[in-house]
């Protein structure tokens, strides 16, 4: 390992930006706020590129110990940073996509009163996310982990005047607490058994331990608890419920935090802890099962959503499920690969959806859109690339990563054809709901408001950098294209969504990450060599099937939402109860409310509030006060204000003292 003093500056640059905007933003001009936010975030990106330029698959990891933190006996935790191939990929994704979304936010949030607040939070998020990614030990990672949760809470509830936004922020925070609880317990177990939280130390302590094939042991427990944490942060079953609600936040937030970066932290953490998971096949299997189920489950919900952002939210949950499926079958590099391509195309999808929402006056219901390809050609073009990418059409990014995951799910020693079958089904559903979104939004006739076909006027308007009425909540005459400051990031992300997958051709991406994941078990290494040769033919076949599934999804969506738009309603009627269950998200929120929230609320109300707080604590305070008042009520009659009664009391007191002394004297 080589020390590298630049490492710590990467996360601290956005923090400086957040501090400047947070303290002085209220009184600065928007131009100054923009400059600060973009310069500091861009500097982090530049620094990441600088680090990447000198880093190859063969490089030894960089590290840097910034300061001591906890030193207690043999146990020590420092503020140290670490960069290997895995964190480099994350670093580039976070800073790159993050920087693009910062630029986009300038256009999207320009007219918002809380502009400086928004930029401050975004920079703050970057700081925590980079801390998470660059941490050298679990505790520094946990700082970032909690910090992104905080930033997420602040940004979901950014429009806190709206009740639903405030509630969604709280929901995200509380559900994440459950996951963090598991994560923390895992950390405690590590401290107890390995005496360290440092990645390299923990992993070298785990390495010689036997693989827990039969029964569950310590490593299985740690793995499962880490997975609880990952399920909270990365919105997996059973803790995924916060992510769809998180769409209450501004759209750039959904793109940055709830699609591209923060929600993938769980995948990163599981990949980072791959040594532990490889020694605990049971935990690994749980990861795979949770991932697979989440992928399918969320995808089916996505079919029936009408809010454009909700569709994308469930799609994100579903894609995160893919990543966990990959990790769960031991194909960590495939998971990270999908994480990267997903950051490109899902970030793009959200930004494009934001552009659409921006263009149609804050409307998010796809049933009131339609025909937008005439009004917003650039948004349409970029969205098209993203849609084809997520659906898995070659040669776009999503194809390579998804295909790699599906192949690994089938062929890995931890995999099985069941994972693959569910994965392909999910791919079909994904393709279907994404093209449903695409057709509903961009094709047909415009179904919202008073549509005029005055395209020339609109495009002139769109070129104005600071669109005067470009703000959610305004009423427009007709849809219009977004300003270039928003379209620029779309175009860059579209390019990345197009070519981003090519670095995976021929296993180059896997090779790049090999130094990190090579420390897996021998079985995996054996599989690497054997599988490549033997499975080539079968891999092509499986690839054809998954592409076929994507095409099928496209055709079905085309049939239902373009060719015969009246058909979906009839099908929905025909399905009746099933459709209602799906469109109501399988009533999971309601079930959780009945199972957990309501008992908790009732218990807190009757036992803790009325019982303990009012019955014991308040009662003790009130009763002692009452008692004091009653006693004083009697005693205050002594203070009559009459001088002679005072004299009487003095005399009586004196007599009492004398009597006492006399009596004492007698008994002596």
């Amino acid at each position: 390992m080589t020390p590298n003093p630049y490492l710590w500056m990467v996360p601290l640059l956005p923090l400086a930006g957040a501090a400047i905007n947070g303290f002085f933003g209220r009184r600065s001009s928007k131009r100054a706020i923009t400059t600060v936010a973009l310069v500091f975030c861009g500097a982090a990106f530049a620094m990441a590129l600088f680090l990447a330029a000198n880093f190859s698959a063969a490089s030894a990891p960089y590290y840097y110990d910034l300061a001591h933190w906890i030193r207690s006996g043999n146990f020590q935790v420092d503020f140290s940073f670490y960069l290997d191939q895995l964190s480099l990929v994350m670093l580039l994704v976070v800073t790159g996509v993050g920087f693009l979304i910062h630029i986009y936010s300038v256009g999207y949030m320009w007219d918002d009163d809380g502009y400086y607040r928004f930029m401050c939070y975004l920079n703050l998020f970057m700081f925590f996310m980079l801390t998470l990614v660059l941490a050298k030990n679990y505790l520094v990672m946990f700082i970032g982990w909690e910090g992104v949760g905080l930033a997420s809470y602040l940004l979901i509830g950014f429009w806190f005047i709206k009740d639903s936004a405030a509630a969604a922020g709280k929901k995200a925070f509380i559900v994440n607490r459950i996951g963090d609880f598991g994560f923390l317990i895992a950390l405690f177990l590590m401290i107890q058994h390995f005496g360290s939280l440092d990645f390299t130390r923990v992993f070298s302590a785990v390495q010689p331990l036997p693989v827990e094939t039969a029964g569950a042991g310590l490593l299985t427990a740690i793995g499962l608890l880490l997975m609880v944490g990952a399920a909270g942060k990365s919105a997996q079953i059973p803790l995924y419920i916060w992510l769809p609600d998180a769409m209450e936040g501004p759209t750039p937030v959904s793109a940055l935090i709830h699609a591209a970066t923060m929600v993938t932290a769980g995948v990163y953490m599981v990949a980072r802890s791959h040594v532990i998971f490889m020694h605990a096949p049971t935990a690994l299997m749980v990861v795979a099962i949770i991932g697979t189920l989440t992928a399918l489950f969320a995808a089916t919900i996505g079919i029936a959503q009408t809010d454009i952002k909700k569709v994308l939210a469930y799609s994100t949950v579903s894609q995160l499920g893919y990543m966990f499926m990959a990790c769960g079958v031991g194909a960590f590099s495939a998971g990270v690969f999908h994480l990267m391509t997903h950051a490109f195309f899902k970030g793009l999808l959200f930004l494009a959806a934001g552009s659409v929402i921006h263009g149609v006056a804050g409307e998010q219901d796809m049933r009131k859109m339609g025909g937008l390809r005439y009004y917003m050609p650039w948004t349409f073009l970029t969205m098209t690339i993203a849609t084809f990418a997520i659906a898995g059409f070659p040669p776009l990014a999503g194809f390579f990563s998804k295909d790699e995951i599906l192949w690994q799910a089938y062929s890995s020693p931890y995999g099985s054809w069941v994972y693959w079958a569910i994965g392909v089904t999910t791919a079909f559903i994904t393709s279907f709901y994404m093209f449903r979104l695409w057709f509903l939004t961009f094709f047909g006739d415009y179904r919202g408001g008073a549509a005029t076909h005055d395209v020339t006027h609109q495009s002139a308007d769109a070129h104005a950098m600071h669109d005067k009425h470009g703000h959610e909540g305004h009423e427009h005459d007709s849809p219009h294209e977004s300003p270039w400051v928003m379209l620029g990031p779309l175009v860059v992300l579209a390019l990345l969504s197009f070519v981003g997958g090519w670095i995976g051709i021929g296993g180059r991406f896997e090779h790049f990450l090999a130094p990190v994941f090579q420390s897996g078990t021998a079985a995996e290494l054996a599989h690497e060599t054997a599988g490549e040769a033997a499975g080539a033919g079968r891999e092509t076949l499986l690839m054809m099937i998954s592409v076929g599934a994507a095409v099928l999804g496209l055709l079905l969506a085309w049939l239902l939402y373009f060719r015969r738009p009246q058909l979906p309603a009839r099908i929905a009627d025909g399905l009746g109860g099933i459709y209602r269950a799906v469109s109501n998200k399988y009533y999971v929120d309601e079930i959780y409310a009945a199972l957990f929230v309501k008992p908790l609320l009732d218990g807190s109300t009757t036992i803790l509030w009325h019982g303990v707080d009012q019955g014991v604590i308040d009662a003790a305070v009130n009763d002692s006060a009452d008692a004091a008042r009653h006693i004083s009520d009697t005693a205050r009659h002594m203070q009559s204000g009459n001088l002679r009664s005072y004299a009487g009391w003095v005399a009586a007191g004196g007599a009492l003292v004398i009597a006492y002394m006399v009596w004492m004297g007698v008994t002596q």
Partner: protein, 100 residues
């Protein structure tokens, strides 16, 4: 020689008169005089004990008490004058407010 016992009886009677006057009289000046009576009753017992035990400390105490009584008389009379000026009465039953 008069026995100690007689002095103590007289001293007790004087003190009891003082207490009684202190408790039942309404005129502030009378109350004030009753206090002096109590002090002098105690003084008498001090002197009697001092003579009986041939100890000087009792006599010294008497001087202390007399000094305190003189100082008290000065302050007390001043207060009484002040009270009379504001309330035009010396009846303690009507002096039941700290301020007017």
């Amino acid at each position: 020689m008069v026995p100690l016992f007689y002095y103590l009886i007289l001293s007790g009677i004087l003190f009891a008169c003082g207490v009684l006057g202190f408790l039942i009289k309404r005129n502030i000046i009378t109350i004030f005089m009753s206090i002096e009576l109590m002090l002098n009753g105690v003084n008498l017992s001090f002197v009697a004990f001092a003579a009986h035990w041939h100890a000087l400390s009792g006599q010294v105490f008497v001087f202390f008490v007399m000094v305190v009584a003189a100082a008290e008389a000065a302050v007390g009379l001043a207060i009484i004058i002040a009270v009379y000026r504001t309330r035009e009465t010396l009846n303690v039953d009507q002096v039941n407010l700290l301020k007017l």
